[in-house]
């Protein structure tokens, strides 16, 4: 693995490493190469996650419609970075995992490529490596920030950062489902009879409404789920 490949590696346990390689004797590992021309994204999950979703969604639609304006005003009072009503999300479902690797092919320079190695030493420990990155790719993975872990260790023989996680319960949310709402402005133009007297008010009047959409909205690039 050469050619200036950058190794970004994290593992949840102490691993023996020499000359820039991991001693794989106690590990099961699999590596794949991903290529993308233009923008793209990848989420890799080495272990099953947990999903919960409320079925009775009509109540959520009604609730956000009734309350989103006050929530937005409240957020402005708190000086939160909420620019528009439609930035607010009411969560009615989520997917939690305990480990992940995420890759964005930003797509500014055409084709890009990355290799991903997932290792699973045992049931409680797993790690990722990105041994080969070419092109305009941004990547990271769970446990990247060692501040969450109890005993981060850096081995001077390699560029592998070793971490141990305190709490193995899944708390990493990779997908959110929910609702958001936005103001909808529309004009109503009453139809009047020819002999009807001129009104005191203008003929057309503006009404404000709240339109509720699912999060995410209808996809811009459609495709059935890809799971391999």
């Amino acid at each position: 693995m050469g050619n200036g490949f950058r190794r970004v590696s994290l593992t949840s346990s102490r691993v023996r490493a020499t000359s820039g390689r991991i001693d794989f004797l106690s590990f099961s590992a699999e590596g794949f190469r991903y290529r993308c021309l233009g923008p793209g994204a990848l989420l890799s999950l080495p272990r099953d996650g947990h999903r919960e979703e409320v079925i009775r969604t009509k109540a959520f639609e009604d609730y956000i419609r009734d309350n989103v304006v006050s929530w937005f005003e409240w957020s402005k009072n708190q000086r939160l970075p909420v620019d528009a009503i439609e930035d607010l999300i009411l969560v009615n479902g989520y997917t939690l995992v305990d480990s992940w690797a995420a890759v964005t092919f930003v797509g500014r320079t055409g084709s890009a490529e990355i290799s991903l190695v997932a290792q699973t030493p045992d049931r409680s420990e797993r790690s990722f490596e990105f041994p080969n990155i070419q092109g305009d790719v941004t990547q990271h993975c769970s446990y990247f920030n060692s501040v969450r872990f109890s005993c981060p260790v850096y081995s001077p023989d390699t560029d592998v950062l070793c971490c141990k996680k305190d709490n193995p319960s899944p708390d990493q949310c990779v997908f959110i489902k929910g609702f958001r709402a936005k103001r909808r402005l529309f004009w109503t133009v009453p139809i009047r009879a020819a002999a009807e007297p001129l009104p005191d008010e203008p003929d057309d009047s503006r009404e404000d409404g709240i339109q509720v959409n699912r999060v995410p909205d209808a996809p811009k690039v459609g495709s059935p789920p890809v799971v391999r």
């Binding site: 793209g40 309350n67 009411l90 009615n92 899944p170 949310c173 999060v215 799971v227």
Partner: protein
């Protein structure tokens, strides 16, 4: 801003119908321990920031993280709404947008087999 990794990631992976893809799945610990049904919040730089949770009374400790007075007309959602929660396993594996191709990394396997 379009072109940021978290925006490209959200747009591309959300097309898979699993939900809004968070580039930063890590919970914002000073605000919440994990995402919950009934959370109200916003996404900023790929993180989900929870403001409060509408399944709980305003006085609940988890709704006091921002130490703010409650929004006007705040009333928690009715509990019966949460009687029908569908739980399921989310399969391990790779989830990627249509333009991404995947192949075995034979270089890596060779390095392992040869002990390099």
């Amino acid at each position: 801003m379009q072109g940021q990794p978290y925006d490209v990631y959200r747009e591309r992976l959300s097309s898979l119908y699993h939900g809004y893809a968070l580039w930063e799945p890590e919970p914002v610990k000073r605000l919440y321990d994990k995402v919950s049904i009934g959370d109200v919040g916003y996404v900023y730089n790929g993180f989900f920031y929870r403001m409060f949770n509408v399944t709980r009374q305003w006085g609940h400790p988890s709704n006091q993280k921002l130490r703010a007075s409650k929004p006007a007309h705040y009333k928690p959602m009715k509990k019966y709404v949460f009687d029908d929660i569908h739980e399921s396993r989310f399969s391990k594996g790779d989830y990627h947008s249509p333009g991404v191709s995947k192949e075995d990394n034979t270089d890596f396997r060779w390095a392992m087999d040869s002990g390099e």
